[in-house]
């Protein structure tokens, strides 16, 4: 019996779902590419037609304006490219201060939420509920226009031991000017930090092997203070004190913290701290009650239970939340523009954009910067998250 001809099993090319979806995706891609090409080419054509300059040549042109605060040498003779660097560093500075301080405030307040002391517990709740619910811009204005602007004028400064001064223009404290030989001291500080890391590792290994604990904290502080002090004596104090002094209108010399930075850092810290406190609270509550009871039955102290049992487990919940709080903080720092703190947004998207008129280039560069900063934070926090994750058996 001759075999029946096989039924044609494969559908036609266009009826194959796989092929169809590939074709649709390909066409969509072409459509999207055309759409963006249209936007870009039309923008360029329109700008050309209206006589608006484009390109990045402006970055090497002299800026001609001054910036209130700069971490690198800057004056009006530097270029617009330099204003980008100045603004970027100021953004990184206020974000770093904000992230460190808000983490400290957030953890303290989050843990205080579980305190057995009624007053501390209620204060933590009041702090979280108040500052979480007030718009950040309002808080910045509060610190800048209500609190810091009420400080006395330069000539009636508050003085702390004639060395530290606080007035409406900022906080002034003595600085150190390095002379030759200062390298030894810097080296000693670096050695101290490296030594502490080694000590921590050694103490941990020792505890794992013998069960004996080593007073890591007090020893670390000793190393951190002792080694540089020793270096200072050996090298004969290669620094000159630079005291702030009232000359003419303002204090000169020493280190100045401008009120714009204080107000912004304070507002970011307190606002983000409240959110972090909530994240910490959520993380601690997510740890099963049985863990705490088990730790108690082992006879651990309450402070040890928190440090060794609760917080490490809570970190699994807290870390992803911290990541997004840190990213928000960096983005929120652009509110600097409201009080004139010279961050990237104020300096570059504000003044530089206005003086050059090159909005598209400048906004693009600035968006790229915030994108990169936040991706870096995300990268670091994801690595950290991986280290605190529950180690599952595969």
């Amino acid at each position: 019996m001759p075999e029946k001809p096989l039924v044609k099993s494969s559908p036609s090319f266009f009826n194959n779902p796989r092929n169809r979806s590939l074709i649709y995706q390909f066409l969509l891609l072409i459509g999207l590419a055309y759409f963006f090409y249209g936007i870009v080419s039309n923008t360029l054509a329109n700008m050309e037609a209206r006589g608006i300059k484009s390109g990045y040549d402006f970055l090497s042109t002299t800026a001609g304006f001054d910036i209130l605060m700069s971490l690198v040498p800057y004056d009006a003779t530097h270029t617009y490219g330099r204003t980008f660097i100045v603004g970027l560093l100021n953004t990184i500075l206020v974000s770093t201060i904000g992230i460190i301080l808000s983490t400290i405030v957030g953890f303290l307040m989050g843990i205080a939420h579980f305190s057995h002391n009624w007053l501390i517990r209620k204060l933590a709740v009041a702090y979280i509920e108040t500052f979480r619910n007030i718009p950040l811009l309002l808080q910045i204005f509060f610190w800048y226009f209500a609190v810091l602007a009420a400080l006395p004028s330069a000539r009636q400064s508050m003085s702390f031991g004639e060395m530290i001064f606080l007035n409406v223009r900022g906080l002034y404290f003595p600085g150190l000017i390095a002379e030759s030989g200062a390298g030894i001291v810097y080296g000693a500080i670096a050695a101290a930090i490296a030594g502490i890391f080694i000590l921590i590792r050694w103490a941990k290994n020792r505890q794992n092997e013998t069960g004996q604990q080593f007073p890591v904290l007090s020893t670390s502080i000793g190393i951190l203070l002792g080694l540089p002090l020793l270096a200072l004596f050996v090298s004969g104090f290669p620094f000159i004190w630079d005291f702030p002094a009232l000359k003419g209108f303002n204090f000169r010399g020493g280190i100045t913290v401008i009120p714009e930075l204080m107000a912004l850092a304070l507002a970011l810290t307190i606002y983000t701290g409240a959110f972090i406190a909530e994240a910490v609270r959520a993380g601690i509550q997510a740890v099963p009650q049985g863990q705490r009871e088990a730790a108690r039955s082992l006879g651990l102290k309450e402070s040890k239970i928190m440090k060794l049992i609760i917080v490490p487990q809570a970190m699994r919940v807290i870390t992803p939340l911290l990541n997004s709080e840190y990213q928000s903080l960096v983005k929120n720092s652009t509110l600097a523009t409201a009080i004139g703190y010279p961050d990237l947004f104020t300096v570059f998207v504000g003044t530089t954009l206005n003086q050059t008129g090159q909005a598209i280039e400048i906004v693009f560069m600035t968006m790229a910067v915030y994108f990169v900063i936040n991706m870096s934070i995300s990268f670091v926090m994801n690595r950290f998250n991986a280290s605190v994750e529950l180690a599952e058996r595969n």
């Binding site: 249209g38 223009r169 409201a338």
Partner: protein, 337 residues
């Protein structure tokens, strides 16, 4: 395939709809109002009263254009802008005219895609200090903290002036002129710098105006005027000549009270400006009585000046450079003919 076709058709349509733009003059006539960028509040130049009505020297330019094009000076939509926002608003077509005490400079005229349609106030940058400082000259300001509005020519002039004189300062920047005044009052800075006209306006707003004084130095030339987008000559002409008409009316001795008389029985130049002779309006594509509407509804330049910044206002600024050319100033209009 039908869906795919429609996707392509849509994206083609989006692609083709880019770029098409009509002239501003037709847009304004179709829309029935002039969109005008003004300051966020600057006494004498553009400020809003308690009823929400805008007034000021810069506002009068917008009103003159509305009167010329639409026959009604009140058909203006005001958009308050900070110094930082103003050029972007004009470049993006959000406003038709920028009339916001804006200095005419080479960079702005040549690289921002803008055209300055004329000058409605000749200004110069100065300094305001608190009287208790005991400062008599700007050269004594070494080490001072200076409050300044961000994104202005003042910011650049200030840097130039202090550098040229070898003295140092700290620039404290703010977004609006009100915030600048706030900084000055709270003592954040010793000095406030801006165009002189603004200094007088800001000084009036201080809690105690007598406590501050304006230093004698004028460190820059600041010709302020209305700005339009580059590449729209018809609209540029309308704005330029609306401003000219106010100055010309003063020169010809026509004010809002005498506009009717000048229109009916004036001399030939007066009649040409008032539109009862010649065809000056149709050459610009606007009503023949454009000049009459401006003078009747807004007034001539002298009326506008005295009402907003001169003797009729708290600012009490004298005409100075802004007087007519035959009276010691440099305000000069080309003839309407």
């Amino acid at each position: 395939m039908k869906r795919v076709t429609s996707v392509i058709a849509t994206s083609l349509a989006i692609g083709l709809s880019f770029g098409a733009q009509a002239g501003t003059l037709e847009d304004v006539q179709k829309r029935g109002n002039v969109s005008c960028g003004v300051s966020t509040g600057l006494a004498g130049f553009s400020q809003k009263d308690e009823h929400g009505t805008w007034s000021g020297l810069d506002v009068d330019v917008c009103r003159a254009v509305a009167a010329a094009v639409l026959g009604d000076a009140s058909k203006v939509q005001y958009k308050p802008l900070t110094a930082k926002e103003r050029f972007t608003a004009l470049q993006s077509g959000e406003i038709d005219i920028l009339s916001r005490n804006t200095t005419w400079t080479h960079t702005r005229d040549t690289s921002l895609g803008l055209n300055f349609a004329g000058v409605n106030y000749y200004d110069g940058q100065g300094f305001m200090v608190s009287k208790d400082l005991g400062v008599k000259s700007a050269l004594e300001l070494d080490g001072a903290a200076v409050c300044i509005q961000a994104g202005t020519t003042s910011e650049l002039n200030l840097a130039d002036y202090f550098r040229a004189n070898g003295i140092t300062y700290k620039a404290i920047t703010f977004d609006t002129s009100d915030q600048t005044r706030g900084g000055f009052e709270s003592g954040r800075c010793d000095v406030l710098t801006s165009d002189q006209s603004q200094l007088y306006a800001l000084r009036i707003g201080l809690k105690d105006p007598a406590s501050a004084m304006v230093l004698p130095e004028v460190i820059s030339k600041e010709p302020l005027g209305p700005v339009v987008s580059q590449g729209d000559d018809a609209w540029f002409n309308v704005v330029r000549w609306s401003l000219m008409a106010m100055v010309e009316a003063e020169f010809l001795g026509i004010d809002s009270a005498s506009a009717d008389k000048a229109k009916a029985e004036g001399n030939p130049s007066q009649k040409r400006l008032m539109g009862s002779e010649g065809d000056s309006g149709s050459k610009m594509g606007i009503p023949a009585e454009w000049g009459y509407n401006i003078v009747k509804q807004v007034g001539n330049y002298a009326e506008s000046f005295e009402r907003n910044v001169g003797t009729g206002s708290p600012l009490k600024i004298s005409r100075g450079l802004n007087a007519q050319w035959n009276k010691g100033g440099i305000m000069y209009s080309s003839p309407v003919r």
